[in-house]
Symmetry: D2
Subunit: 332 residues, 4 copies
Amino acid sequence: MVRIGLLGCGRIGRLHALNIARHAGAELARVFDVHQPAADELAASHACPVARSVAEILDDKAIDAVLIATSTDTHADLIEAAAKAGKAILCEKPIDLSLARVRQCAATIAPYKVPVQIGFNRRFDASHRAAREAMIRGEIGDLHQVIITSRDPEMAPKSYLASSGGMLRDMTIHDFDLARFMLGEEPTEVFAQASALVNPAVCAEVGDIDSVMILMKTGSGKLCHINNSRQAVYGYDQRVELFGSAGMLISDNQRPYDLKHFDADQAGRSEPYQFFFLERYARAFVAELDSFVQAVAGKTRPEVGFEDGEKALALAEAAYESLATGKAVAVG
Amino acid sequence: MVRIGLLGCGRIGRLHALNIARHAGAELARVFDVHQPAADELAASHACPVARSVAEILDDKAIDAVLIATSTDTHADLIEAAAKAGKAILCEKPIDLSLARVRQCAATIAPYKVPVQIGFNRRFDASHRAAREAMIRGEIGDLHQVIITSRDPEMAPKSYLASSGGMLRDMTIHDFDLARFMLGEEPTEVFAQASALVNPAVCAEVGDIDSVMILMKTGSGKLCHINNSRQAVYGYDQRVELFGSAGMLISDNQRPYDLKHFDADQAGRSEPYQFFFLERYARAFVAELDSFVQAVAGKTRPEVGFEDGEKALALAEAAYESLATGKAVAVG
Amino acid sequence: MVRIGLLGCGRIGRLHALNIARHAGAELARVFDVHQPAADELAASHACPVARSVAEILDDKAIDAVLIATSTDTHADLIEAAAKAGKAILCEKPIDLSLARVRQCAATIAPYKVPVQIGFNRRFDASHRAAREAMIRGEIGDLHQVIITSRDPEMAPKSYLASSGGMLRDMTIHDFDLARFMLGEEPTEVFAQASALVNPAVCAEVGDIDSVMILMKTGSGKLCHINNSRQAVYGYDQRVELFGSAGMLISDNQRPYDLKHFDADQAGRSEPYQFFFLERYARAFVAELDSFVQAVAGKTRPEVGFEDGEKALALAEAAYESLATGKAVAVG
Amino acid sequence: MVRIGLLGCGRIGRLHALNIARHAGAELARVFDVHQPAADELAASHACPVARSVAEILDDKAIDAVLIATSTDTHADLIEAAAKAGKAILCEKPIDLSLARVRQCAATIAPYKVPVQIGFNRRFDASHRAAREAMIRGEIGDLHQVIITSRDPEMAPKSYLASSGGMLRDMTIHDFDLARFMLGEEPTEVFAQASALVNPAVCAEVGDIDSVMILMKTGSGKLCHINNSRQAVYGYDQRVELFGSAGMLISDNQRPYDLKHFDADQAGRSEPYQFFFLERYARAFVAELDSFVQAVAGKTRPEVGFEDGEKALALAEAAYESLATGKAVAVG
């Protein structure tokens, strides 16, 4: 039984708490939030103790691991503290908005050799994963192109956007990670174009963009395209296309079920997509936790490591540089 | 909190036990099986007490309801006993293989006025249910035709078939119930044709059929077709089509996700269907239990009552008569 | 070059005229219609001579074949006259509304041994045909079940209905033929249920039905279901499902192309179906003519013979008897 | 009646000849090919006269228009000669492989004011066109992103590749034109990445690439992605996605019909795509000709003008510059 202390009891923290509570090999040992009532409420609903400080969790010898679901600006500090306390770590993405800080954190925790997993939950989506596995089995021969479509159903509130670190670090970072997962080798060149099309006024206020297209190339010449939008009115749009010498795989959007509607105006309207990531990736969050629990229990390396968080952020940085210079930027 | 005693710890009993254990408003109070080790094992995995007799559950004043998941030949007796003990009842289908026995059971339990729900889980499938709700909202105008396709992935073992009561009572009964659910009125005529095509040798041995087509008509002239096979090699095939004056709704088969494969021999192969009812109707079993728990807690009538079990069986009887006579048989 | 005289210059006659004119191996030799202006207009647009009488075509030694696209009540007489004149015959369905008259016609023409093809154009639909060919190649093992869905987009005018011979002879007859084509053996039992649901008032006036379900069984036990409606508001609905021991084939509806629409209310609305038989079966009419031209030129038997017209009508008769008696009717 | 002289009787010339012959408002007046037997054979099959020289066609006062389907290196010369002769012109793409030559040609023909149409047939594809029309009607609000997937089924022969002018001028040029057609405004920045992945050996020999990804941005900030491959083993892959503020439109690949196959290994394999452009765009070629004939007859401007040919080539040039410099290149 892996005993996990939860840091952060917001929306994503509550989701993880529920998954931990239902996991046969894990136990929600203690929960903490800077906003105490949030921790109290979550603790009550899972009948688990509350911690009044982070230290209370890090000092508890009975706790094996921490799940960090606090605000982004605390991630690196908490990772360092948890590593020093010898806890295994599952930290929500991104590690930090500054690549320099991420690298410093990496150096700080290196000696402690604790398992660290970054919350790139999409790697655990059954559909994306089955696509990758079919590719690895050779079903499409050599991989030539990866095309990732990733669009949110609606724009986040201005307050969120203002502190998000920018669209490439906040949203595209998931796709940079997914691209690395699918490409099987590192991108060596990144090019980006971006616009404020969904809501130019808000973008101007917060100094951000809302529409992005990325091109990347790997050392062996594989090509990768990512497109993002902050708003797809038809629902959360999450597709991955793998194109190779012997075929193609498309991990398509998902509906809760397949009900088709036909009437005088149309033939074959389908049900709407699952609304957003909490719905689409619900099972991915469960699988992500399961992978972490197995790694901690089995004393193996987590599937998605600290360096994956660092590399995805490096791609986001390169994309920002490309936006600024109009050039493809070398990475890696 | 609805406290439930489980009678029968086989495959379907274990599924119900898990759903009860996870349900926020229900509690697995005690489990029983004539094969004691099955009960012991299930009790251990849910940390709940074992009952050494049915009476131990029926006499327990703290138990509100029983879930009957024993072999079919015990259902009617257990329903009667549970009703006399004042327990709410969720009983797996069919109530009994004999319509006469079912009617006797109905008479026996009538005075006790306990809530009784029959386990026609497909009514709780989100897709079929959404189709029905869209129809009731008027999306397809007046309903004219219902077409139900229902095929198992593979033939059950001979021993199962021999004691199943025959394909129409064992398998088609689900579709008779679903037809009634969708038609919104009672069929008044039933016609059946059947063959032994999948495995004529086994059918001959057990005196059964494996391929069935049904036609039904309601009082107002609505038409309904059911087709069944004991073996669809491409997977569990569960489709419902509702055709009306203003449109059509198709509740189609479901895949775990939508991954499409393209190669030199084909364009767009999809993932296989979910294997069988435990997979396809997994969430329906949860919703079925939830509906029962709410009915018991709220002291309302269950959505699927004893009379639904009786009427589906009456349609199966009529279909057998039709097979024997080559005539449409009046019912209702 | 096969020289063809056209009898009947209505909608379907004009379609055939165009197909003949475009066919590399056929020539539109002369056209006739009882309504002379219709013949004049068609002749003008194809720059071909008009015949002022049927005899003018039948007596023309340079004419190899006639295409009969006149009203149904003239078909049998014209077939007999053309056979006596030694012409090959392509006659629109049905041969006649009376099975007795059809059989008399068969006897009359037998001595003349001319090639006769009946216009069951759906047999030449590339999709249905590819399904049948895949089945014959063994792709689905032994055939167990055939399900045919066939619904018109809208109800024909009352005047048409009144002289149509009834829905089973006019509309279902296509599906009876398609069923025979797919089953590969003769149905031996027919059962029918029917209602007036689309337009009960018009049905009452003309003494017809508008919604039909059929069950059939063959000598070896194969099962077949047909469902029909005079009105599918979402468009012409033409589907064939072949289910067998090793798989299933579905010949589905067709759209002119695959454009998908996504908006705030829906995800993935497709374009409407092709409107009606002139659109859906446009290429089937071309292939039908081509098959006839090849048979005439090659002096081979047409693919769809007189006896196919007779047998489809016999199934319609049996279905009417079933409606009247509530029994499955033996045929063949 | 528009009388058309055909220059070039190769594969694409023969296709145009057939479409002209079948067009109610056009006539195949005379055909020419430098390889005389090709012209003789085509003339024979359409019963039209052969021209022994280009001049014979240009000097014929009865000829209204020429269709140029000769090898690319002759296009600009023939356009100039035909313009001087006062003929309307439909010329296969590209106008020339050199942008300078194209601009010189534009200047040369300007005084003659003849209608000139360039053969970007994809603009006439019913599916792409319906997508654009739905967008223009406002169905997806403001356009934000265009994604074009365009992959050939197999690599062309080395001899063809060697004289093709390079993948961007030969293949991507279609997509540059389609992008302009969909974007509704000019791209102002072009970025390209490319690799030799399908057949590096042949690419090395002919100095070309076989895998391309493009990003473009317009003045108002719209983003556009194109991906190309010289070989998609699953068939000709032609998709256009239009993403906007109020929805999305996907013009998807087409199959000749919709037959689905299910067996023990899979559920729902579809028929292969139409093989290549002659099949997929067969109707687009007909519509293209029809548009040209209407423009000539109605003395209106062709829908796709000389400047469209020039602008698509300018984008290809910019893409080559981007490949060489690793920078986004300004255009327009």
